[in-house]
Each structure stands twice: as structure tokens, then as C-alpha cells.
């Protein structure tokens, strides 16, 4: 099994994608189509909001400072992820395992914050199809769009944590620290993880701050 893993092979230069591996091009195509999914949801949210007669100020309902901590946590986990990719590329197994673990913990912390936030909001009366705030009914679309967009992102974080965990198991076996192209699966999970961070930057702006 490990013999088939050629560590010395270099990707031949391609006229269009340079030295990018097939896996990398495939991951970018996946990210592009996933970006359309998020784009569609954000556009639907924007349309529903601009055509609504009243829309509550998100600043009054959502905890901006609380979520800002989650946003910064995802940014930090992006930094640990690039450190993991760099560790894999220099075949440093110990550092790779450490940085991957830190990235997974960052993702789990974000999910914990989201679970706390959802529980709090539902408790306060913001539901999926209806909404009351401080005893007054509010536009039910506020809760619907909030839970759909942030929930879809939360699913991506969950998927990313599972994906990272599989990569961590491989890293502990030393699969990605054999030099050459053996580190590329770490680079691919990194692309996905940064994309999840990038999307959150946009979601945080459009759902929480605007």
C-alpha cells in the first residue's frame, strides 16, 4: 500500500494549472460549486430582507461580541491549518499532528459556541418558522434565514472537523510526512477548511453586522 505512494514524483507542468495536482484542481472545483450554494442562500436572504416591511436590527437580537469571538476562533484555526500544511511539507510529523489537533479543537470550539447561541435564541423565542422578541412578534423570516444560513455553515464546520479527524489519524501513522507529494492530502483539507473560514467572514458580515 505504502509502496504505491510515490514520494519523489513531481506533477508535470500543465499549460493551464501549472504544477497543481489533480486533487487540488478537483478541490477548487468543489469549493467553487459550494460557493454557489452559499451565494444562493445569501442572495435569497438579501431578497427576503429587502422585500420585508420590517426587519429587526440583528445588533439587538444576536450577540455580536459573542460571535466575534467565534469568528476570531475560526481565523485562529485557519492559522493553525496553514502551520499544519507547512509542517507536512517539511515532513515534520510531530508538528503536523499538533497543528492538526489545534485546528480540530478550534472547529469544535466554534461548534460549541454555535450550539450555545442556538439554544439561547430558541429560548428567547426566535424559532425556525416564527419569532417573538421580548414578547413582541417579529418577522418570522429573520429566524428562518438566520438558521438556514448559519446552519448550512455549521454543517460545513462539522464536515470539516470529521474530514480533519480522518487526516489526523493518517498523520499519526506518518502517511503525509514522507516527502514529495505525500503531504498533498493535508493541503486539500486545508483548502476546504480555509473556505469554511472565508464563508464565515461573509456570513458574519451579512447576517450579524448589516
Amino acid at each position: 500500500m505504502s509502496e504505491s505512494h510515490s514520494v519523489t514524483a513531481s506533477v508535470p507542468h500543465d499549460e493551464h494549472v501549472g504544477h497543481a495536482t489533480g486533487g487540488k484542481v478537483a478541490m477548487w472545483l468543489f469549493i467553487a460549486q459550494d460557493g454557489f450554494s452559499f451565494g444562493g442562500l445569501l442572495l435569497a436572504y438579501a431578497m427576503l430582507r429587502t422585500w420585508s416591511h420590517e426587519w429587526p436590527n440583528p445588533q439587538h437580537i444576536l450577540g455580536i461580541k459573542f460571535t466575534a469571538v467565534g469568528t476570531f476562533d475560526l481565523i485562529c484555526s485557519s492559522l493553525t491549518m496553514v502551520m499544519a500544511v507547512a509542517a507536512a511539507q517539511r515532513s515534520d510529523k510531530k508538528a503536523l499532528v499538533g497543528w492538526l489537533t489545534a485546528t480540530i479543537l478550534g472547529g469544535l470550539f466554534f461548534l460549541g459556541m454555535q450550539a450555545y447561541e442556538y439554544t439561547h435564541l430558541v429560548h428567547e423565542g426566535i424559532g425556525f418558522t416564527q419569532g417573538t422578541w421580548e414578547g413582541h412578534p417579529i418577522n418570522p423570516l429573520f429566524g428562518s434565514t438566520f438558521f438556514v444560513v448559519t446552519g448550512f455553515h455549521g454543517c460545513h464546520v462539522t464536515a470539516g472537523v470529521i474530514y480533519l479527524t480522518f487526516i489526523l489519524f493518517g498523520a499519526m501513522k506518518g502517511k503525509y510526512t514522507r516527502g514529495g507529494l505525500s503531504s498533498s492530502p493535508v493541503e486539500l483539507v486545508g483548502l476546504f477548511w480555509h473556505f469554511v473560514d472565508l464563508v464565515w467572514i461573509l456570513v458574519f458580515t451579512f447576517i450579524y453586522l448589516l
Partner: protein, 122 residues
């Protein structure tokens, strides 16, 4: 070539001998740790600025300034993540175009904003 491939598993010390030759083309100008830390700090500072924008421009007549500022800050952060953390800065034009495809949805967003802006005039 095939001889070296057969022995790599048993002699990891041999890998550095030919790895730089193979890696030199794959990563022409790889970013360093200090670059990543700088980007991370910049993202943190921009997030801090973002939190204060809605408070400073909370008045209704400041709404357009607030919206434009927030969209600018979010775009700047997204571009930093894509260019540095996702290595797009070091990829070919084709890979960048693939990555840029969903950005065309911004056209619809602009259309929607124009529609909202001019709706009272119609």
C-alpha cells in the same frame, strides 16, 4: 527513477537528496511563517474594526456608509484568506479563475441593491 522509488520507504534520509529538485518546481515562492502570522493579525484587527462600524454608523442616514464599509472590510478579509491561506497568490491564472467563479453572484447582489435604492423612485 524507479530504483529510487523502490528504496524510499526504507531510507527516509535519501528523500532530501532529490526532494528539493522535485519540490523546486511545485512551490516556486512558498510563503513563510511570518507571512501567515502577519495575515492572521491583519484579519484579527479587521474583525475588531468590523464590530465597531455598526456602532459608529448606527444612525439611519449613515446606513449606506455602514453597508459599503462592511462589505469592503469583508471583501478585504476574504481576499486575504484566499490569496495567502489558500495559496491563490502562487497558483496559475486558471486556478484563480475557478476560485473566482462564485464571485459573479455579487453581480446579482449589486443588482438587488440598485433595485432597493431606486425602488422608491419608481
Amino acid at each position: 527513477m524507479s530504483k529510487k522509488n523502490d528504496t524510499h520507504g526504507q531510507h527516509p534520509a535519501q528523500v532530501p537528496e532529490h526532494a528539493p529538485a522535485a519540490g523546486a518546481h511545485a512551490k516556486p515562492h512558498g510563503p513563510s511563517t511570518s507571512t501567515f502570522v502577519t495575515i492572521w493579525l491583519t484579519l484579527g484587527v479587521l474583525t475588531l474594526v468590523e464590530i465597531f462600524v455598526p456602532q459608529v454608523y448606527s444612525a439611519p442616514w449613515n446606513r449606506h456608509t455602514k453597508v459599503l464599509l462592511l462589505i469592503f472590510l469583508a471583501s478585504a478579509k476574504a481576499i486575504l484568506v484566499a490569496a495567502y491561506f489558500m495559496h491563490l497568490k502562487w497558483e496559475t491564472r486558471w486556478v484563480r479563475w475557478i476560485a473566482l467563479m462564485p464571485a459573479y453572484m455579487a453581480l446579482f447582489a449589486i443588482l438587488l441593491m440598485c433595485e432597493e435604492y431606486f425602488r422608491p423612485l419608481l
